[in-house]
């Protein structure tokens, strides 16, 4: 097992092999989740950015048009009051005004020759049609000439004269570009952050799943004591890891118990088998008369019978412990079961000079298997008769709250406190010399039967002696 353990790679803090194998990374659930997340995030962010851009650009355009509308309305009033010459005068005055407000004016005759205005001539390529127009003008900024975008409205005055009122919108365009650029950059940064975050998230997820995988691989390779490390966050992964660890604990406990039982069985049956073999060998080399041979065969059969009895006891325990098969539980009067067993043992008790004391409270019922309970009780009485030599022997049945209590008490040597847990294990016998017959399985069966009935068994000091106390869930009286 040690060799297998060494073959395993040390736990890696980071699942690098996913990075080394991109196709494996793409197949992982974490990666797909992160990718989906990223797509949704990018789409929603793009739509928000587009909306911001569109709204701000639209707002500036509306403002320009509102200003132009107000200007045209003013000029139209002037024209209505003072005619074409009045209009030319006011346009001339306004054209000479502050160039900072970026207003553009032009009045031409029907052929497009300029009469007055701050634009040099009719802009090239612009159709003569009343309504909104976009065009470019040449503007002098800081001493050099540049083409600026402009937005304007053309009004055809009666007589074919044209009035063009416009505005240099190079500032607005610059603003729009600035917004566009800002949004583009912030979008890129956000997408980058999203991408990194998604990758980090999926890697973190992968790392924790990897920890679980790694532990299960170690366990499968035979190291049952390995556990998934917890990170103390009590999140779902921690919970999963904790549950897995508990499951592994349980498996390890069962495996250890099973190994111990198998070892015990092998060990405890080796001795009688060796004895049996020795007996047969001695018979073979011994005197050849029929009497001696018969005696040897009889002894061998007795030895084999004892081994079979041990096997039967083991199977009984296994049967009681497994709890499988159809449920033979019936409603039992615990007092009746105890009375029958006591009556069965009474002659032996009397012969061995015990006083058998029955204290049975009527109407204490449990749901149970009569055969198993009878055998458990028989084992306890067997033990008491075997180890206590003489004195009082008490069998008691009573109700204690929700529990039905069955007790067998003797005045024997008792069991030291330190051994009270161990005696329930298979093949454990406290007598080092093992001079009393027995297989060390009696109390193991008692415990298995108690557990099978959802009960408990405890050993209590009877001052002096031993008191074995079985408690079962009682049925309502």
């Amino acid at each position: 097992m040690v060799a297998e353990k060494l073959l395993l790679p040390a736990p890696w803090p980071w699942p690098w092999h996913f990075v080394a194998q991109p196709r494996r990374l793409v197949r992982t659930h974490a990666f797909r989740l992160a990718a989906l997340y990223f797509l949704v995030f990018a789409a929603s962010m793009l739509s928000v950015l587009f909306f911001v851009y569109w709204t701000s650009a639209n707002f500036v355009e509306r403002q320009t048009e509102a200003t132009l509308d107000a200007e045209i309305t003013g000029l139209a009033e002037q024209y209505a009051q003072r005619g074409l010459s009045g209009l030319v005068q006011i346009v001339a005055a306004r054209s000479a005004g502050d160039p900072g407000d970026a207003m553009l004016y032009l009045v031409t005759d029907p052929e497009g020759r300029p009469l007055v205005g701050n634009i040099a001539g009719w802009p090239l390529g612009v159709p003569v049609r009343s309504g909104w127009l976009s065009f470019t003008v040449e503007a002098r900024v800081h001493g050099h000439v540049a083409a600026h975008p402009a937005r304007g409205s053309l009004i055809i005055i009666p007589g074919g004269y044209r009035l063009l009122v416009g505005r240099d919108i190079s500032d607005a365009a610059a603003f729009r570009n600035r917004v566009k650029l800002t949004l583009l950059w912030s979008g890129l940064v956000a997408l980058g952050v999203g991408l990194l975050g998604g990758a980090a998230m999926s890697r973190n997820l992968l790392r924790r799943v990897e920890l679980v995988n790694r532990t299960s691989e170690t366990v499968m390779a035979g190291n049952l004591s390995d556990r998934v490390p917890l990170d103390g966050t009590s999140d779902e992964f921690d919970l999963l890891a904790a549950n897995l660890n508990r499951m592994l604990d349980q498996i390890e406990r069962l495996m250890t118990a099973m190994r111990e039982v198998t070892d015990d069985v092998a060990h405890d049956l080796k001795t009688p088998l060796a004895r049996l073999r020795a007996q047969l060998e001695l018979a073979l080399i011994g005197p050849a008369d029929a009497g001696a041979q018969n005696e040897a065969i009889r002894a061998a059969i007795d030895e084999a019978d004892r081994m079979l009895a041990t096997f039967n006891a083991l199977l009984r325990i296994a049967e009681a412990e497994a709890g499988g098969g159809p449920d033979r539980s019936e409603t039992l009067d615990l007092g009746e079961v105890a009375r029958a067993a006591a009556e069965f043992y009474e002659p032996v008790a009397e012969e061995k000079e015990f006083t058998l004391d029955l204290a049975i409270e009527p109407g204490v019922s449990i749901s149970g298997d009569r055969h198993l309970l009878a055998q458990a009780l028989a084992n306890l009485l067997d033990n008491a008769l075997k180890y206590a030599r003489a004195g009082e022997l008490e069998v008691r049945v009573c109700r204690s709250g929700e529990h039905a209590v069955l007790e067998v008490a003797d005045r024997g040597p008792g069991i030291p406190e330190a051994d009270r847990e161990a005696v329930f294990d298979r093949f454990v016998r406290l007598e080092p010399s093992r001079s009393t017959p027995g297989n060390g399985l009696g109390l193991s069966l008692v415990r298995a039967v108690a557990y099978r009935h959802h009960g408990t068994v405890t050993l209590v000091d009877n001052r002096p002696g031993l008191r074995v106390r079985l408690e079962f869930p009682a049925l309502a009286a």
Binding site: E319, E351, Q375
Partner: protein, 225 residues
């Protein structure tokens, strides 16, 4: 007396054939369930010993088929499965007795004899009699030489079982099963003590003993020769 042994394990089958043959029975062997059912269908056997797990046809199924054909030959089931459930299943399928492998040959023999007696039980009687010992099932009293003997209820059942099987060996396990309905072996010699108490009551002070211990097998209640 003719017996049919249905057992697929050759070694066990020849062990049974040899032992039963030496005990004075004529023994036929069948190696699987189908063959066994075929042979048993003739109805010419006095008892059947059959293994539970058989190739071809399960022992319990074969027994069920036999009972369905109204053949009532007493049958003893042998099985490696020893839990109470298995026992109940075997008896429900039509078995008359159930013995868990491995078993002592004396145990098997005693049980087969008990089965054969059951098949030929005479008219039901209310009084059992062995020599001068009398047991009245109605009044539940016991007398020997006309003198009443006080017995406890359980001793009465023990004596009744021994008397019903008088002249034949009954094993400790048979007594445990039929008198106390216990299907396990106690570690102490409880049955022996019960029997010796009974012996005190029915044999002491009455000259020739009726209740005998058969070494390595069990007990036998029989009239003196």
């Amino acid at each position: 007396m003719k017996l049919l042994v249905i057992e697929d394990d050759r070694e066990t089958a020849s062990y049974l054939a040899k032992g039963l043959g030496e005990s004075g029975y004529t023994v036929d062997c069948a190696g699987d369930g189908r063959e066994g059912l075929f042979m048993a269908s003739s109805g010419s056997y006095d008892a059947i010993v059959l293994d539970r797990m058989l190739p071809g046809m399960d022992g319990l199924a074969a027994l069920g088929a036999l009972r369905a054909a109204d053949i009532r030959t007493p049958a003893l089931i042998l099985s490696a499965l020893g839990s109470v459930d298995d026992r109940v299943k075997g008896l429900r399928a039509g078995g008359d007795d159930y013995l868990v492998k491995p078993f002592a040959f004396s145990e098997l023999l005693a049980r087969i004899e008990a089965l054969l007696r059951r098949g030929s039980a005479g008219p039901t009687t209310m009084t059992l009699r062995v020599a001068d010992l009398e047991l009245d099932l109605l009044t539940r009293t016991v007398k020997r030489c006309g003198k009443p003997i006080d017995v406890l209820p359980r001793e009465f059942r023990l004596l009744e079982y021994l008397m019903r099987n008088s002249g034949h060996v009954v094993t400790r396990t048979m007594l445990l099963e039929h008198v106390w309905d216990y299907h396990f072996d106690p570690q102490t010699n409880v049955v022996d003590v019960h029997v010796s108490r009974l012996r005190q009551k029915i044999d002491k002070n009455f000259g020739r003993p009726l209740l005998h211990t058969v070494r390595g097998a069990g007990y036998c209640l029989r009239a003196p020769d």
